[in-house]
Symmetry: C2
Subunit: 280 residues, 2 copies
Amino acid sequence: MQHDLSRFAINQITTKAWSMPEAIEGYRAQGVTGIACWRQYLDDYGVGQTARHLRDAGMWVASLCTSAWFDADTAQGMAQAITANRAILDQAAEIGAPTVVMVVGGLPAGSRDLHGHRARVTEALHDLSAHALQTGVKLGIEPLHPMYCGYRSVINTIAQANDLCDALGDTASGLVPDVYHCWWDPAFRAELQRAGAERILTFHLCDWLVPTRGMFDRGMVGDGVIDIAAIRGWLDEIGYRGVFELEIFSDLDWWRRPGEETVRIAIERCAPFVAQLQEV
Amino acid sequence: MQHDLSRFAINQITTKAWSMPEAIEGYRAQGVTGIACWRQYLDDYGVGQTARHLRDAGMWVASLCTSAWFDADTAQGMAQAITANRAILDQAAEIGAPTVVMVVGGLPAGSRDLHGHRARVTEALHDLSAHALQTGVKLGIEPLHPMYCGYRSVINTIAQANDLCDALGDTASGLVPDVYHCWWDPAFRAELQRAGAERILTFHLCDWLVPTRGMFDRGMVGDGVIDIAAIRGWLDEIGYRGVFELEIFSDLDWWRRPGEETVRIAIERCAPFVAQLQEV
C-alpha cells in the first residue's frame, strides 16, 4: 500500500541507536524523506557532510533538535547559552532546517526561583531572536510537559509558548506543539486556534501510555490514550498544512528495537494521521 | 525545640508501612496530632475502632483519602462509583474528617475521549454533592499533576478545580491544592487568590526532586525545587489559616524508611512552613 508521506518526518531520536547516515539511509529506504536532526548525530557526522548527504539522498529537514539549555543563574552563563544557540542556528541554516526546536532548560542548579527564571529565559530568547532573523531559522518554542519543569524546560504550557511567540514575533519564532506534552491541557485546542496555522512550525506525534513506567516512556502512535484523530481534525480546522514529526523517547521499548522495525511500524501507524488533506 | 504543629497533619500514606493504630500512635508520640487517613487502613482497622482510637488519642482528622474513581464509561459504572463515594462520605463523617479528597480517576479503559470524560466526571460530582451536603463532609477537589491524567485523574489544573468548585458550590465542595501537582503552573498563585482562603480545605506539602526517577518519587520538604516559603507567603496573603498536610509517595526512598524516622524528619522540615501566622 502506498502511503502519502509527503508531510511526514521522523525525528531521529526515535531511532536512537542509528548514526546520522544510518538514519538518513534507513528512513529513505522505506520512503520517509523527512527527518528532524539531533545535534549529537550532526556533530558526530559533521555539518557539511550531513548537508551533502541529505541533499544527495533527496531528504528534507523538519527541524534541528534541540537548543542549548538556558539554565544558568548568572548573566555570564546566560550569555554563554545565547552564544551556543547562535552557533546552533547557524548549523540549522547549513543543513536546511527551518527551525531549531527550543528546549529551554529547567531551573538553574540549586534554584527554586521558577517565576524569575521564566522571566530570564524570555529575555534570553529575545536576545537570541536577532540571530534567528539573520539566519532565517526560526526559534521553535516547544512547551514541555509539566513533568519536565524541574530539569528540562520551564516552558510547560502551549499558552506560555503562544505568549512567548507574541513577544518574540512570528518572523523570528513559532510553535512546536507535541501531543505528548499538550494532550492533557484543557486549553490545547483553543491555543492551537489562537496560534493559527502559520505559527505552527512542525507538529510532534507519539502517544501517552497507560500505565507510564517512567520519565522516558513514550508510546508509538496508536498504543496510548491520546486522541490523535481528533487533534488532527483541530489542525485541519485551522488550516495547518505543515509537517508531522514522529518523536519517541523510549528507553524501555522502542530504543531497544532495530531501527528498521521502528520505521516500518511508524509508517503504518502514522500514515492515517499525516496525509495531505483531501479538499472536497 | 518546641515546634508549633497546631496546623500540621501527616497524611498516612507517607508512612505507608504503618497500620492505622501504628500511625496514630507514631504521630502522637512525636507531637503530631493531625492525621489524614487513607481508606485501606481505615477498612483494615474498622471505622468504629478508628474513630474511638482517634478520639482517645486526642487526634484531629485533616481529610479522608481518597474517593473511589469515576473511571467508568457507562452510566451504570458511574452510578456505582457515586454509590461507593456516598459510603466513603459516610465513613469520613464517622471519623470526623471534614473532607474526602476527590481523586476522580483517569480515562475509562480503552477510551481516548478526555473531553467527554471530564464532562461525565463533572456530572457525577454534581450527583454526589447532595450526599456531601447531607453528611456535612465536603468534596475536596484535588487537581492531580498532568502526568497522572492517563490513569489517576482527569482534573489536572487548579483552574479546572476552581471551575468545578464554582459549579458544585462552596457548601458542598472545596479545593485541595498540593504543591507537587501545582508548582509548575504559571497560574498557581492567581488561582489560589481566585479560590480565597475559605475554599481551601487542606493544603498538601512535599517536594519535587531533580532528577525525578519515576512516577512515585516525591521528595521530603526541602529536598527539591519547590519554593515552599513563597507559596506559604501566597497563602498568608489570602488569609489561609487552615491545615498543612505532608503527603509523600516515594517507593524508592521514604516508603522504605522506618516510620519514626520519617515523622522526625518531617517535623524538622515542615515546622518552618506550617506554624500559625504571627500577626504583627
